[in-house]
Each structure stands twice: as structure tokens, then as C-alpha cells.
């Protein structure tokens, strides 16, 4: 047990799993010699050799497409896409093949592979490096999508993803990579895909969110607790697909109020699915309309606007105030 930030937790987990399962291979751009642009795969090339830690040419469709072949051929590939905004060339492989091979082969073949990608704003990078693109992924049947909000969850989700017989996209919030450290157990443990986490229980209102928004939601909750004594429940969705409808529904049936927070644009964002699901689950318990706090319906702007784009504590607090005001 030791204190780790998210990059360290991911790195050590990959290393552990590589030792544990010889079928595991890593592939991606600059993950070998360079250790990945965020150093998640630092030194793994030295440790495991270039057959298992593969610096690929620059082609995302090929990374995902060859990984599918590898998986069918008996390896367990973990792909790194350098930034989520560069996954788009691989969407065809994900939609047409990775997510369908099991159904297409009547269960005989599976795409036991993982795709890791950093995402979200926060490092003043050039355009397209900050996209929150989970909305394209959560609508693909056959795929799973998970997003950790802490080092410990990052480890547990990564292990669950690697061990899953179906394809999992693990989205890693760039802003959380080195934001803080926490105790991360050394054992191999799993955060089961399909389970949300109650970050803090509360009676008055549910804030349903994930990734880099979780710490912001906590800050807003603390502020409102102090200011008005409101008891805010925070639900970290963690597994967007499959979605833990039960935990979400329970939370809102208890509180009767909900705010949904994500960084991706509003329209067609995953917040719409959360809102729909929660409404289906808890319609008769709702005391106020659910409010979505999201990025605006604009492409992620050049970084000078970054602070405007990304939801912040004040916007979240304001939305909670809105749903608390009703009735």
C-alpha cells in the first residue's frame, strides 16, 4: 500500500498486469521509448521488451484494428490513444468491428481489449487535445466505457477492464493525472464495471457526475453544506456503459432532486442518457426538474477560453441552488 497519483497508479497496474498475464501487450504512439506523453507506460519497454510494448506508427484506426486481430489471436492488447480527440479515426473500427465481433460470431469470438485515452481540458494544449468524446462511445452497443476519478479507482477499473472478455474504453481525465495522491492497495483488486460509487452520501440532492468533475462537485457540496447546510449526495458514475441504473435511481428516489455534471457539450451528451435513465427510474419521486451542467454546445475552444468552457464549482453550486429552490 502506498500513496500514488493517477499516473503512478495506472503505470504500476500495467506493470503488475504485464507480469501477471504474459498475453498482455501494450500498443500505441510513443508509449515505448518515450513512455507515453503522460508517462503512464514509463520504462515498461525496458521491463517487458518491444514485442510486448509496441511503439506503433501514427495511425489510430490501425492501432485499434490490429488490436482486435491480436485479441482474437489470443493476446490481450491494451491500446493507448495519445489523446481522446485522436480516437476519431478509429471510431469505425470500434463501431463496425470491436463492438460487434462477439454478436457477429454468435459469441465465439471476443474483443478482449482495452483502449486507454486521456481526455478533457486543463493543460493548455493545442486544439483537439481536450475533447470530451464519451458521447460517441456510450451509444455503441457491445462496448464498455469507464472513467476513473481517483487513483484507486483507476487501478480497479483498469484491472477490471483488462480482465473483461469484452472491449472496454478507459477514459483518463488529464486534470486528475497528477492532481493528488491517495492510498492505492498493492493487491490486484477490481472495481466491477457497471457499478457507480457514492462519493459522499446525502439526503437533499444528488449530483451525478464522473471524471474530473467529481472533485469540483465535492467542492461545491462542501461550500453549500457550509453555507446552507444542504446535504449533497455525490454519485460518481464511473462506469458509463454499462450504467449502474440501480444506484442512480436509488439516489434520486431518496433525494428527489438531481444535478448532472459533465464537461462534454450539452446536446446529445451522456448527461442526456443519465437524465433519461434517472427520470425513468425516479419520475414519481422528483421534486424539481433535473438540471444538466455541461460544456456549451461549441467545439472545445483554443485554450484561452478553457476556463470558460469547463464547468466549475460556481456553476455546479448554482445548479444545485436551482434544483433546491423548486417547491
Amino acid at each position: 500500500m502506498s500513496e500514488k497519483n493517477m499516473v503512478e497508479a495506472l503505470h504500476d497496474t500495467l506493470s503488475q498486469m504485464m507480469q501477471h498475464d504474459p498475453r498482455l501487450v501494450l500498443l500505441g504512439e510513443d508509449i515505448g521509448v518515450n513512455g507515453g506523453v503522460f508517462r503512464v507506460t514509463d520504462q515498461l519497454l525496458t521491463q517487458f521488451g518491444s514485442d510486448r510494448v509496441i511503439d506503433t506508427p501514427l495511425a489510430e484506426s490501425a492501432i485499434v484494428g490490429t488490436a482486435l486481430g491480436m485479441a482474437i489471436g489470443g493476446l490481450r492488447p491494451v491500446c493507448e490513444i495519445q489523446f481522446l480527440g485522436f480516437l476519431y479515426p478509429a471510431l469505425d473500427q470500434l463501431i463496425s468491428h470491436v463492438s460487434r465481433i462477439r454478436a457477429r460470431s454468435a459469441g465465439a469470438l471476443g474483443a478482449a481489449l482495452v483502449i486507454r485515452a486521456p481526455f478533457g481540458g486543463g493543460i493548455r494544449a493545442p486544439e483537439q487535445h481536450a475533447d470530451s468524446a464519451e458521447g460517441y462511445l456510450t451509444t455503441i452497443p457491445g462496448l464498455k466505457v469507464a472513467i476513473p476519478s481517483s487513483p484507486a479507482d483507476a487501478k480497479g477499473l483498469l484491472i477490471a477492464a483488462i480482465e473483461d472478455e469484452d472491449p472496454v474504453v478507459l477514459l483518463e481525465p488529464i486534470r486528475l493525472y497528477r492532481l493528488g495522491r491517495e492510498e492505492v492497495p498493492d493487491t490486484l483488486y477490481r472495481v466491477p464495471l457497471g457499478t457507480a460509487r457514492i462519493v459522499q452520501p446525502g439526503r437533499d440532492v444528488s449530483v451525478i457526475t464522473y471524471g474530473a468533475m467529481v472533485p469540483l462537485a465535492r467542492a461545491a457540496a462542501t461550500q453549500l453544506q457550509q453555507r446552507y447546510g444542504w446535504d449533497v449526495e455525490i454519485v460518481d458514475v464511473r462506469s458509463l456503459s454499462p450504467l449502474d441504473e440501480e444506484t442512480l435511481g436509488q439516489s434520486v428516489r431518496k433525494t428527489g432532486r438531481a444535478v448532472i455534471v459533465h464537461e462534454a457539450p450539452l446536446t446529445g451528451g451522456f448527461g442526456a442518457e443519465i437524465l433519461a435513465t434517472v427520470t425513468e427510474q425516479a419520475f414519481w419521486w422528483l421534486k424539481a426538474p433535473i438540471v444538466r451542467v455541461t460544456g456549451p454546445d461549441v467545439p472545445f475552444p483554443p485554450y484561452a477560453w478553457e476556463d470558460w468552457y469547463v464547468p466549475n464549482v460556481s456553476r455546479i453550486a448554482h445548479a444545485i441552488g436551482q434544483v433546491m429552490a423548486e417547491e
Binding site: 484506426s61 490501425a62 490490429t66 465481433i101 469470438l109 452497443p141
Partner: protein
């Protein structure tokens, strides 16, 4: 491009240019007969509304069948929608081919090292490269071979696949059937390169052009490229020059975009007739044997169709069952809903 001469084993009159296994040749011939009979049957079934949209291999039997004969069962076949002939040779039961044509399955059978046919053009070439990587990594003495058409060479995934294969030097073959057309688009509108084989230059890999209507040449070329790949000498792009004698699919009307004159010229080089002539010259085939083969083929196909049609309606649950290995509750719930409705 004299760098890419067309490899031929028989001339168009079926005279042998270099040696190959004659017994294999007869087997190949037999399966070419079967494939033709299968396509003819399926076209009829389609007109009767008993199968949906379907892509026959008419005119491409040599390329389809002989290429598959050059593989071992341990090799991975990575086909596209037109390759039921190759799949059959590689072990896919006839019944499964028919199930696919009837929209009841993904042309896959457990135990056969072949992926389900890929519909989106060129996407599957990457899977072949990944499979080849896995074979190499696990030191299996086998290769992966992807099947695709001339049109597929225009897609980005074609490029990425050949490039990765070159860099990785994995045992993969890219078997391109240049049948002259991608639906209505002739090859010279598909690319400005003189041959498709020369595209190999871009990846520093081997490129070969073979007469795709010369079954024995196809067999030899694939066999040699396979040997080379197994030996660790890298991937090969094979361009098999052939001709699609029939429609692209049953939904296609080729008279809209090509003349009957063009078709006639090419059907005169029919690969079945050509191999037949050769086998007769070699004393391996007789008219009686040929007619016997045709009868047998039809019989086997009719039996298979009968078996498949006897299976009755599909079950709604099979639409849900295999989306994930362990179904999430939401899909389970949907499955139940749909089952309930199916009993209404």
C-alpha cells in the same frame, strides 16, 4: 510497370507453363464447380425471395478457391462478403454459408480459423495484421490472409494495414482480387497507379501480380508468399487479376455501367473452362467426371439448403444473447421485454 508482370501457370488455352500438384488441381476444379453451382442456386433463391442481397463470385472461382487451397487449416482467413468459396475450402460448412446468405448468421463456425465476413470495405485487413502479430508472438507456424477487392485499395485502412505489416514484418498476406470493378467503378477510376501490386512499394513489402483466372498460378503464388511469410521474410500484397462476370450483388444491374461486349471478352477466359481444359489435357478429367461433379455439387447444395430452411424461424433471444459475454441488466431487461412480446 514491367516490374509487376502477371504471373501465369497455364496459358489461356490451359497449357501448362510450370509444374504444380495435379491432384490438388483436380480438387480445386471440383470446388470451383461447386462454387459456381452454389452461386447459381443462391441467385435463384434470391429471385424467389428465399435469400436477401447476395454477392456471387461468378468468374472469380479460380482466385477464390485456389487461393484458399494454398492455406493450411491453422492459417487465419480474413474474408469479405464475396468470399464464401474461400471460406468453404477453409472449412466453413456449406450450411453456414447458406445461413449467412439467408441473413441468419455472420458466416462464422466455431473451430474454423476464419473471421466472419467483413462488410465494411478494407476494415478487416487490420485484423489480419493483428492476427499475424499474435501468431508470430506465440511462435505459431501459420499466417493470416485477408481477402478484398480492387476498390478496397482506396480505403485508409488498406494503407494502414500494409504499413503496419511492413513495419512489424508479420506473416500476413493481402490477397486482392482485382475483378475490374467496384460496383460501377472501373479500376482506372479507382486509382491512377498502373497496377495494384505496385502499391506494395509504398510499404517496402513484396508485391506480386498473378493471373487470377489461372487457378494453378494463384495457388503457386499464394503458396510461395505464404512460405516466405512463415520463414519470417515479411508480408506480400498479391494482386489477382480476374473479372467479375456477374452482378456486384443481386441488388446490382451491371448493364447500367458496362457493355455486354466487355463481359463477353472476359467470360471467354472463364477460369473453370480453362482449368477443365488443362485437366482434360493432363488426362485427369473426363466429360463424365465433370458431369458427375456438377450433379454432386447441386445435390449437396440442395441438401444444405433443405437443412437450413428446415430450421424454422430465428429466435428473438439470439439477437441479445451475444452482445456481451455477461449481459448488463439493461440488455437483460430488454431481452425479457422482447421475449414477452414474442409470445403475445
Amino acid at each position: 510497370m514491367n516490374q509487376y508482370p502477371v504471373v501465369r501457370v497455364m496459358d489461356v488455352e490451359g497449357t501448362l507453363a510450370f509444374s504444380s500438384s495435379l491432384e490438388t488441381a483436380l480438387h480445386i476444379y471440383q470446388d470451383m464447380i461447386l462454387l459456381r453451382a452454389f452461386d447459381e442456386k443462391t441467385l435463384t433463391l434470391q429471385r424467389q425471395g428465399r435469400v436477401g442481397t447476395f454477392a456471387p463470385s461468378l468468374g472469380q472461382e479460380a482466385a477464390e478457391i485456389a487461393s484458399a487451397y494454398a492455406l493450411d487449416r491453422q492459417d487465419w482467413m480474413v474474408p469479405s462478403y464475396r468470399d464464401h468459396g474461400a471460406l468453404y475450402v477453409h472449412g466453413l460448412p456449406l450450411d453456414h454459408v447458406i445461413l449467412f446468405a439467408m441473413g441468419r448468421s455472420g458466416s462464422y463456425a466455431a473451430g474454423v480459423r476464419a473471421l466472419p465476413s467483413s462488410i465494411p470495405i478494407a476494415t478487416h485487413l487490420l485484423h489480419a495484421v493483428g492476427l499475424a502479430y499474435a501468431l508470430k508472438q506465440q511462435a505459431e507456424p501459420a499466417i493470416a490472409m485477408a481477402y478484398f477487392g480492387d476498390g478496397a485499395t482506396s480505403e485508409g485502412d488498406f494503407h494502414e494495414a500494409l504499413n503496419f505489416a511492413g513495419v512489424w514484418q508479420v506473416p500476413v498476406l493481402f490477397f486482392c482480387q482485382n475483378n475490374g470493378w467496384a460496383i460501377s467503378t472501373p479500376v482506372h477510376r479507382q486509382t491512377h497507379s498502373e497496377t495494384l501490386a505496385q502499391k506494395a512499394e509504398a510499404y517496402g513489402i513484396a508485391g506480386v501480380r498473378v493471373d487470377g483466372n489461372d487457378a494453378l498460378a494463384v495457388y503457386e503464388v499464394v503458396r510461395q508468399a505464404r512460405e516466405k511469410a512463415i520463414q519470417g521474410h515479411g508480408p506480400t500484397l498479391i494482386e489477382a487479376v480476374t473479372y467479375r462476370a456477374g452482378p456486384h450483388t443481386t441488388a446490382d444491374d451491371p448493364t447500367r455501367y458496362r457493355t455486354s461486349n466487355e463481359v463477353n471478352i472476359h467470360t471467354a477466359q472463364d477460369p473453370i473452362r480453362r482449368l477443365g481444359e488443362f485437366l482434360i489435357q493432363q488426362g485427369l478429367l473426363t466429360k463424365t467426371l465433370k458431369e458427375q461433379m456438377m450433379r454432386d455439387s447441386k445435390e449437396r447444395i440442395n441438401e444444405a439448403v433443405g437443412r437450413v430452411e428446415a430450421q424454422g424461424a430465428v429466435m428473438v433471444g439470439d439477437m441479445f444473447r451475444h452482445v456481451y459475454q455477461t449481459l448488463p441488466t439493461r440488455i437483460q431487461r430488454q431481452w425479457h421485454e422482447w421475449e414477452d412480446r414474442s409470445h403475445e
